[in-house]
Amino acid sequence: MPDVTITPTENGPYMVSGPVVLTAPDGHVIEHPDPMVMCRCGHSSNKPFCDGTHATIDFDGTLAN
């Protein structure tokens, strides 16, 4: 098993588990829990993390593969 696993959940966020360093464009390290839940719908007000909005906007997260 790799150290880091990224799982796009059904019509929901990315679940990211494992030792990950998350950095902002300005280089500062963003603290996060493990696993962390990352926005996939683009509508979170808590980016890069999920805030649950995907469920209220009927986000279609169907995978291409």
């Binding site: 007000s45 999920c50 805030d51 649950g52 909005t53």
Partner: protein, 865 residues
């Protein structure tokens, strides 16, 4: 570290570098206007401005704010915030108020970036800030109003918070006076009204201020209202709820105005009569020559005195016999538009004291880790790493879990994360929510343990002989209240042996029972200080195993050496439960060949709720039937000759609690959906069918006609649009029409809600509309997305707003409220619009798509936004 907060440079210890800015602001700098809501960036209650941009302080490490300017609600100043606050105040935006400092700062940031935002821009910007009271439509309108004010001028003046009123304990003299437990007039003319009813957003302080000012003929602006408790004296509890025989103090069942309509008007009329006598005596004139208006007594001779001048003299007088409240024809305030909420200004300014804000010298903060499955208990606790964390002072196992006691929330939170607890599951609920639903449905099918709640006529024969029948099973999930302020409590044992408890409780009597039994003291040795509630919606009706119980256990374990504040983390509150019960219903209804309803059989399976409320259960749980489960089903507004209702009490360690609109939150979904199904089956118009069933309920019928009229019921809608209708006699008399549309991706959108209501006399029409709006959004949010999920083995999966989506501004439909004025006494409005939100939508979706959805939330079945 050096921070610049509200234009002042402050030094903060480096050990807080990684502490969320929220906790440094609150616990280190003592700025309590910034609120905690979720701790995870989902709700934005903690919004502050960092370099002018709205920022979630719970997600900002304090060292990230170094070199930037931080502005909190306490320090925000200038024309934009002034315009925002003024429009918030004028628009009666605020309800519980807990989220409003964050909302107003987010609005400032928006207006700085975009001075004339349209609805779409407002929705996009403001959707980060959650509000559980449902103030979104008013926030949107207030932002437009602020934008207009800024472009048109003149510059609004800043709002100024009134001075805080000291808590007081009634003296023995005050307890036996007919007036003083309820109001007192100060020498400066201020009228202090003592509210037996906790203000949790519903607006009862403003309602009481209105009826008190009306009967006193005082200026509305002269009335201040505070939460009161500890009213037990020789004549019983002066704050006892008249709707419950005045036995004990309780805010609930939306009955505050209904229950206290007589008492506060009478107390004010009596106070006015004493003032008139005092003036007559002072001036040597007959009482009937004295006129009272605007807080001033006048005589034709030219003599006059303000209330404050005569208050002390008047207080010495006996209340004359036969004082009666005013003739309604003389009302100047009641029923009129224009009242602004009396609690709005301090809430907008972040000055209102909620339980989370209680601080007394030496107080320690406790966070409680609750079991991950309902009914599990701590088997072993390894607290070594926790106690090694700086600021942590103790780890205390209590009945509900394990408490970490520390100097600040951030310290306690680090301690909590380091805590290792093994849980004993021997009494735990190990079923998943899907398995629990399956068991509810099995009991519904088998009928074992079912009890008959009402049985009239011959339902079986009527169903057999029916020309048309419908048979539907409706399922509803567990729901959390999730108010913006997680449930907190604080206590301290005073040197005089009195245990003081600060809590935003709907039932101060329960607090006394709960705290005294744990402390091992007499009930009257507990003094309750009622704080403002950052929402409750029924959650704060608990009588045991709640933050009060936790705080008292912790304080006792630490030998009463420290005042203790228990603060709930959002996750921990979800893990405590006290949910709206899961409920399943089966309705079989029959109609004759002409489409007239002839038979109604309904079965319910749900865990009982009233059993958790002392005294209430004595009258609400009888013969194994829980009225809090069957309300709305056992007493429908519709006349039907053959009727049977059965209910089964579900057993589980999962605790239930009253949840805004209680049983009606599920029974009306089944009832109003089934009526609609019958209308479809018989080919009848659903308004026409209801009209026929409401001939004995003229007030409900009138609401139905009014809603139908304003929604243009029966007129054609464009392709892809549809309407659904409901009616109800819950609390008042109401009807709702919901309009929906289908987009090109097959998704349903809720476009418009028209709500008609007869709630008796309209004391403050605008506050009634605000409650109806909030109740609709509350009901709609739950209907669309709300459900508590327990995973395999009973693990509590739903623990924060990411997994428990609640409505954000972008999903708010248009809402139109039409009030019917009436000379009947006022009835409640806080819950009145909640039950119809789901069935009106289900009926609209059925009309739109032909699909009948009987399972909530809707998002499990269809694409909806």
């Amino acid at each position: 570290m050096k921070l610049v907060v509200n234009d002042a440079e402050v030094e903060v210890d480096d050990r807080h570098a990684k502490t969320p800015l929220l906790w440094v602001l609150r616990d280190v700098l003592g700025l309590h206007g910034t609120k905690f809501g979720c701790g995870a960036g989902f709700c934005a209650a903690c919004t502050v401005l960092v370099d002018g941009k709205n920022t979630k302080s719970c997600q900002t490490a304090t060292d990230r704010a170094v070199g930037k300017t931080v502005t909190t609600v306490e320090g925000a100043a200038g024309p934009v915030i002034d315009a925002v606050r003024e429009s918030w105040y004028r628009g009666n935006v605020v309800q519980c108020g807990y989220c409003q400092p964050g909302q107003t700062l987010a609005a400032v940031s928006l207006l700085e970036a975009n001075p004339e935002p349209d609805d779409a821009a407002i929705d996009a910007w403001m959707s980060g800030n959650l509000c559980r009271c449902g103030t979104y439509p008013r926030i949107r309108a207030a932002i437009h109003a602020a934008s207009d004010a800024l472009s048109l001028g003149p510059e609004p003046a800043p709002l100024i918070a009134p001075e805080e009123i000291e808590d007081r304990t009634l003296t023995e003299e005050e307890l036996v006076d007919p007036v003083h437990p309820y109001l007192r007039i100060h020498p400066d003319g201020t009228v202090i009204a003592y509210s037996s009813q906790i203000e949790m957003g519903q607006g009862i302080h403003t309602g009481l201020a209105t009826i008190v000012a009306e009967e006193l003929d005082a200026e509305f602006g002269a009335v201040r209202v505070v939460n009161a408790a500890n009213g037990r004296g020789p004549n019983g509890d002066v704050y006892g709820n008249p709707d419950l025989g005045s036995a004990f103090q309780l805010t609930g069942a939306s009955n505050s105005m209904k229950g206290f309509w007589v008492r506060y008007r009478l107390a004010a009329a009596q106070a006015r009569a004493r003032l008139v006598i005092a003036a007559a005596e002072a001036w040597g004139v007959p009482t009937d020559e004295i006129e009272v208006d605007g807080g001033v007594l006048r005589h034709g001779s030219g003599r006059q005195a303000a209330f404050g001048e005569l208050a002390a003299r008047a207080e010495q007088l006996a209340v004359p016999d036969g004082v009666q409240p005013k003739d309604p024809a003389d009302y100047k305030l009641i029923g009129r538009e224009g009242r602004l909420r009396v609690d709005a200004v301090p809430k907008i300014l972040g000055a209102t004291r909620y339980t989370i804000d209680v601080t007394v010298p030496g107080m320690l903060t406790a966070l409680v880790l609750h079991p991950p499955r309902f009914g599990a208990t701590a088997a072993s606790v390894d607290d070594e790493a926790t106690l090694a964390e700086s600021g942590v002072t103790a780890v205390v196992p209590i009945e509900e879990g394990v408490a970490v006691v520390a100097e600040t929330v951030a310290d306690a939170q680090r301690g909590l994360r380091a805590l290792v607890v093994e849980w004993d599951d021997s009494n735990a609920e190990r079923r998943s929510s899907a398995e629990l639903l399956g068991e509810h449905l099995r009991l519904l099918e088998s009928g074992e343990n079912a009890v008959t709640a009402r049985d009239e006529g011959d339902v079986d024969r009527a169903l057999d002989g029916a020309a048309f029948t419908v048979d539907g099973t409706y399922t509803l999930p567990y729901l959390a209240h999730a108010p913006m302020e997680p449930n907190n409590a604080a206590c301290r044992m005073r040197e005089d042996g009195v245990l003081e408890v600060w809590v935003a409780s709907e039932a101060p009597e329960y607090v006394k029972m709960n705290a005294s039994s744990i402390a091992g003291i007499d009930k009257e040795q507990v003094e309750v200080q009622i704080t403002f509630a950052g929402g409750s919606f029924g959650l704060h009706s608990s009588a045991e195993h709640d933050p009060t119980a936790e705080a008292v256990q912790i304080a006792r374990a630490l030998d009463w050496k420290h005042p203790i504040k228990v603060q709930s983390l959002r996750e921990e509150e979800f893990k405590v439960g006290r949910y709206r019960a899961m409920a399943v219903h089966r309705v079989r209804a029959g109609a004759d060949a002409d489409g007239h309803l002839t038979a109604w059989q309904q079965q319910i399976v749900a865990a009982p709720t009233s059993v958790n409320l002392p005294f209430v259960r004595d009258v609400m749980f009888t013969n194994n039937v829980d009225f809090f489960t069957t309300t709305g089903a056992v007493d429908p507004p519709y006349a039907v000759e053959n009727f049977r209702l059965e209910s089964t009490n579900f057993e589980t360690p999962l605790r239930t609690m009253v949840w805004r609109s209680v049983g009606n939150s599920h029974t009306e979904f089944a009832r109003e959906s089934a009526i609609d199904e019958l209308a479809i089956a018989t080919g009848r118009d659903p308004v026409d069918l209801r009209r026929e069933l409401l001939t004995e309920s003229p007030r409900t019928l009138r609401a139905l006609e009014l809603a139908a009229e304003h929604a243009d019921w029966g007129s054609p809608l464009p392709e892809g649009h549809a309407r659904g209708i409901t009616s109800s006699s819950f609390l008042g008399h109401s009807a709702q029409v919901t309009e929906v549309s289908l987009d090109d991706r097959g998704r349903v959108h809720v476009d418009r809600i028209v709500f008609a209501l007869d709630c008796g006399r309209n004391v403050n029409p605008d506050l009634i509309r605000a409650q109806v709006e909030g109740g609709l959004l509350w009901g709609l949010s739950a209907a669309l997305w709300g459900q508590i999920v327990l995973g395999e083995g009973g693990d509590i999966v739903t623990q924060n707003f990411d997994a428990y989506p609640v409505m954000r501004m972008r999903s708010v439909p248009q809402i139109q409220v039409h009030l019917i004025d009436s000379a009947e006494p006022p009835s409640g409005v806080g819950e009145v619009s909640v039950p119809s939100a789901a069935p009106a939508l289900a009926n609209a979706i059925a009309a739109l798509t032909g699909t009948r959805i009987r399972e909530l939330p809707f998002s499990k079945t269809i694409k909806i936004y």
